[in-house]
């Protein structure tokens, strides 16, 4: 795979670390809604298709990215800085 880091340009998969599902929203820190926390920490949509996910360019600029990638073909549809797009 080749991930087009918005800062570094297209880079080899070996430079990146997968940081998981980016569909989840962290509950308000003050919230004690256990089902919301359970959903955030443990539940996954596990999409078969275009999947919104975090990657860190750990072997590069170290920015976290939000990547939309097909889990069926590995085709990458979009890449953006997580800071700018994270929910």
């Amino acid at each position: 795979m080749l991930i087009a880091c918005p800062y570094c340009g297209p880079r080899d998969l070996s430079e990146f670390t997968y940081q998981g599902d980016a569909n989840r929203t962290r509950p308000n820190p003050m919230s004690n809604d256990q089902s919301a926390w359970n959903a955030y920490v443990y539940e996954r949509v596990n999409t078969a298709g275009d999947h919104r996910e975090f990657w860190q360019h750990s072997g590069g600029c170290r920015a976290h990215l939000v990547v939309i990638r097909s889990t069926l073909t590995h085709e990458i549809k979009s890449v953006a800085f997580a800071r700018e797009t994270a929910k």
Partner: protein, 419 residues
């Protein structure tokens, strides 16, 4: 159907092998069954087999979208072991081990389970202690484990880098003597034949396209071969869990699908007798009866349903293998493939009634699926037949995450790629 034996082989050989019958029938779906098992892999087939054998429920169909055994039962590195750390896992896998030990007789099919031992190498004193902790945990549950010193390891595994200058010198290892390998395809075929002989219908090329519901209750499935109703619908589809459960409206589960690559070298004369695992990384290697070295390492580490991996992981695995066995650099990689793993949030499986009425779920096998095949089917059959878990799978619930009763074998938390 005829028993397999040396005599039957001889008799058939003399008649030119013209009289062999199909190992299992190819029936058409009936309109309804007592139980439908979705997934014609190892777990689905063993579930059907034990439903028939242990619970007398024979009006059962196994639905497989492709060819039988096309999933992980035919894509793994064939390792059978029960060397777990946590008691819930040890008990379950130890039960599996006992079923393995008699499986060829039970099925009248040689699954070639060979107990040549699994050896986990240790490279630091801390790792020796971790291995001792696990070995002791196994011994306290009635399992077998032996802690080996450096010299014993060197004697047991020729070719292993035992030099003091090794990047991670070998200090010893934890051996489970009863562990070993089995012929993976034979397990699927043996269970299929065994279930079929007890009356189970195995329906290949029969993909589930939806669930039939009466209110909340699941009462059957729609498939590419028509609608099939059942009193109970059991799901055992490993890497496809997310996709199948979405058909039932379950959009979120504590499961991620990841690809695990496996590798085989060209065939060699006997070189490695045990299954050996590396402690300086994550790698396991054994040698098949045909002579190929069979090995694998970590997941590629990203969500995927594609049965294909990528190059960085290939290179990582090879460098770990050669760090253990520097004599293998001239050996060639012959084949590689990918299997889609249903990685759970704590690295342990789920075998449970629900989450909908009339439905039963078996998933979350991570790397452990193949060796679990007999016990998974055995426990799942019990759960389906009785409507509640057997003590052996009572801990493998779906609500353990919310409740914080985790079975985190690796201590990595809700990061599936690390389990």
């Amino acid at each position: 159907m005829a028993e397999y034996s040396f005599l039957s082989l001889l008799r058939n050989a003399l008649s030119g092998n013209e009289d062999w019958k199909p190992a299992w029938r190819k029936p058409d779906p009936r309109p309804s069954y007592d139980v439908i098992v979705i997934g014609g892999g190892g777990h689905g087939l063993s579930t059907a087999y034990y439903l028939a054998k242990e619970h007398g429920i024979t009006n059962v169909a196994v639905l497989e979208k492709g060819y039988l055994g096309s999933g992980n039962v035919g894509r793994n590195t064939t390792i059978v072991r029960s060397n777990y750390l946590l008691p819930d896992n040890i008990r379950f896998y130890e039960h599996s081990m006992k079923l393995w030990e008699n499986l060829s007789h039970d099925l009248n099919y040689n699954v070639m389970f060979s107990q040549r031992g699994v050896l986990n190498l240790a490279h630091t004193p801390a790792q020796m202690d971790e291995h001792a902790r696990r070995g002791n945990a196994m011994r306290h549950e009635g399992g077998d484990a032996v802690l080996l010193g450096r010299e014993e390891v060197a004697r047991m595994v020729p070719g292993l880098d035992m030099s003091a200058s090794a990047r991670f010198p070998v200090l010893g290892g934890l051996l489970q003597p009863r562990a070993g390998t089995a012929r993976h395809d034979a397990v699927a075929w043996g269970y299929a034949r065994g279930a079929d002989r007890r009356g189970v219908d195995i329906l290949e090329n029969c993909e589930v396209t939806g669930f039939l519901r009466e209110g909340e209750r699941v009462v059957g499935v729609t498939t590419t071969r028509g609608e099939i109703r059942a009193k109970k619908v059991a799901v055992a589809v490993a890497g496809s869990t997310g996709r199948v459960m979405k058909l039932a409206g379950i959009d979120n589960l504590p499961i991620e699908s990841h690809v695990l690559q496996a590798f085989v070298s060209e065939s060699l004369k006997p070189l490695i007798n045990q299954v050996v695992t590396f402690g300086g990384g994550h790698l396991y290697v054994s040698q098949s009866d045909k002579g190929g070295l069979v090995f694998g390492g970590d997941l590629d580490g990203y969500n995927t349903y594609a049965q294909r991996g990528n190059l960085p992981l290939v290179e990582e695995v090879m460098s770990e293998l050669l760090a253990m066995f520097p004599n293998l650099a001239r050996v060639r990689l012959l084949r590689s493939w990918g299997g889609v793993m249903d990685m759970s949030m704590d690295g342990s499986p789920i075998i449970t009634p629900g989450p909908l009425p009339g439905m039963f779920l078996n998933c979350g096998w991570c790397y452990g699926g193949f060796k679990a095949t007999p016990a998974s089917g055995w426990c799942f059959a019990h759960t389906i037949a009785r409507g509640e878990a057997h003590p052996l799978n009572a801990a493998f619930t779906l609500d353990r995450f919310a409740r914080g009763i985790l079975i985190d074998e690796k201590g990595q938390g809700a990061t599936p790629k690390w389990h």
